[in-house]
Symmetry: C2
Subunit: 105 residues, 2 copies
């Protein structure tokens, strides 16, 4: 069921991008470790086996950048573009990531 897989992917990207864009600008060590662990656990628990395996490979090649909000959000945008490339989807301009994801908070 490709529709369900796509909907789950969209929901997950939305949550993850919004999360990095609300991550502290100057995170503590503890906050940095929380974000790093979050992505690693997500890649293990993501409920699409094929995608989870790919996610884990990507995290090895591109470890989470957690030094600041900007670093984290640009890192995730680049990671998403790696998935886009593999799936032959358009590459997103990471300069626009800020204005695309509004958490309403």
């Amino acid at each position: 069921n490709e529709t369900a897989k796509a909907e789950l992917g969209r929901a997950t990207w939305k949550l993850m991008h919004t999360m990095t864009l609300r991550f502290p600008k100057k995170p503590t060590q503890d906050e940095r470790e929380a974000l790093n662990s979050y992505f690693h656990l997500m890649s293990r628990l993501y409920p699409c086996g094929e995608c989870a395996a790919e996610f884990q490979q990507l995290l090895k090649r591109f470890p989470p950048q957690t030094s600041s909000r900007l670093a984290a959000s640009q890192w995730l945008c680049a990671l998403h573009n790696e998935v886009n490339k593999r799936l032959h989807k358009p590459i997103f301009d990471c300069a626009h990531v800020d204005s695309t994801y509004d958490c309403g908070c």
Copy 2:
């Protein structure tokens, strides 16, 4: 911006419910700890301050159930109903959680 907050909420519930419904039926200790940590980190990093605070309180009152797929998915359904109650939304019948979330995988 209430629309953005609601969309983020929907995306997050979708991911979390689908995740519990794909969680192993007989998880290892390591898998159980991964799911437990995932929810605790999510409650810290969730990009809506008011919701994150509420999420953390709920996890204290109702710690994640990780002994099986059924335990985890029914626990999350009950937790979501606690949020529904507070927001005056209809209570969801947890007997139907299985058929509502298809990950397409």
